[in-house]
Symmetry: C2
Subunit: 157 residues, 2 copies
DNA sequence: TATTGTTATACTCTATAACTATA
DNA sequence: TATAGTTATAGAGTATAACAATA
C-alpha cells in the first residue's frame, strides 16, 4: 500500500520534469522557427517584432521606459532597437509635451503597414502549428498556463 | 449565421496566437529562473547542465558528434563546454578504441555526484512550479505538446 | 574524399554601469 | 537627489567556416 503510494508520487514528480522538458523543447523550437522565418521573410528579428507589437497595442505611443518594462529588457536594449526601427522609418520618437527628458515612441504609417503584414503572416504560422488542436484544448492549456504564471510570481527570485 | 461562423473562426485563430504568446512568455520566464538559480546555487549554466544530463543518460559515454546532435548545437560549442567541464574534473575524454579521430566523453565520479545533486534540486524547482497541476492535467498537456512536436517536424524550414 | 573534432570568428540577445540632461 | 534616456562594454549562447588528423 505505502509502496504504491510512494511509487505514484515519484511517478508524478517525474511527470512534472518530463512536462517541463517537453514544454521547453517545443517552445524553443517554435521560437527558432519564428526567428528564422522573420529573418528570411522580413529581414527582422523577434525583439524588433515585439517592440512593434507593443506600439501597435498602444497607438498613443509609449515612452522608452514603458517599452523597457513591457518588453522586459533593460533600457539600453530598447534604445538600440528603437534606433534601428527609427532609421528604417517604422517608428518615430516624439518629444514628450511636459517632460523634456522623455520621448513618446509611436508607429509611423509605414511602420503600421509593415507590422500588420508581418503580424498576419506570423499569426498564420502559429495557427498552422496548432492546427491539430481543438478550440477546447487550446483554451484549456491557456488556462493551465495561467496557474504556472501564478507560480512564477510567488517563486520569483 | 455565416457571421457567427466567421466570428468563431477568427476567435479560434486569435486563440492560437494567444496560446502561443502565453506559452512563450511562461517558458521563457521559467527558463530564466532556472538559469539564474543554476548560476546562483551551482555556478553553472543551462548548456553545461544539459550536457551532463545527456552523459548521465548514457553512462557508456557519447562522442562529441553525438553530444552535438543530442544537444542540437554545432560541434564547436560542444568542444567549448566539454573543455570547461573537463577542466573542472566533471567529465573525461577517453580515446575511442578503434577510431583515433574520436573521443568518448563520460562523466567522472565527481561529475556523477555533482550532477545528481544539481538534478535533484532542479527537479524540485520544476515540481514546485507545477504544484497547482493535477497528474491528469500534466499528462494531458504532455500529450498535446506531442502534436505540436509533430507539426514542427512537418513545418520544418 | 568524407568525417571527427578543434579553432577562430561573428552575430544575437541581454545585462551592468557610467554618463547626460532634465526633473 | 532621482529619473529618462544613452552609451560603452561584457558575457551568454549560438552559428559558420577554415583547418588538422584520421578514416
Amino acid at each position: 500500500m505505502s509502496i504504491d503510494l510512494e511509487t505514484r508520487v515519484v511517478a508524478d514528480d517525474h511527470q512534472a520534469l518530463k512536462l517541463w522538458l517537453r514544454l521547453l523543447s517545443c517552445t524553443t523550437r517554435v521560437e527558432t522557427l519564428v526567428r528564422n522565418r522573420l529573418r528570411g521573410e522580413f529581414a527582422t528579428t523577434l525583439p524588433r517584432f515585439d517592440l512593434l507589437a507593443q506600439l501597435e497595442r498602444y497607438p498613443q505611443g509609449l515612452s522608452m521606459r514603458e517599452l523597457s518594462q513591457r518588453l522586459m529588457v533593460t533600457g539600453g536594449n530598447v534604445t538600440g532597437i528603437t534606433d534601428q526601427l527609427e532609421g528604417e522609418g517604422l517608428v518615430a520618437r516624439e518629444p514628450h509635451p511636459s517632460d523634456r527628458r522623455s520621448y513618446t515612441v509611436k508607429l509611423t504609417a509605414a511602420g503600421k503597414r509593415a507590422f500588420r503584414k508581418m503580424a498576419q503572416t506570423h499569426e498564420q504560422w502559429v495557427i498552422e502549428l496548432f492546427e491539430g488542436w481543438t478550440a477546447a484544448e487550446k483554451a484549456q492549456v491557456y488556462g493551465l498556463l495561467a496557474k504556472l504564471k501564478q507560480s512564477l510570481e510567488t517563486h520569483h527570485e
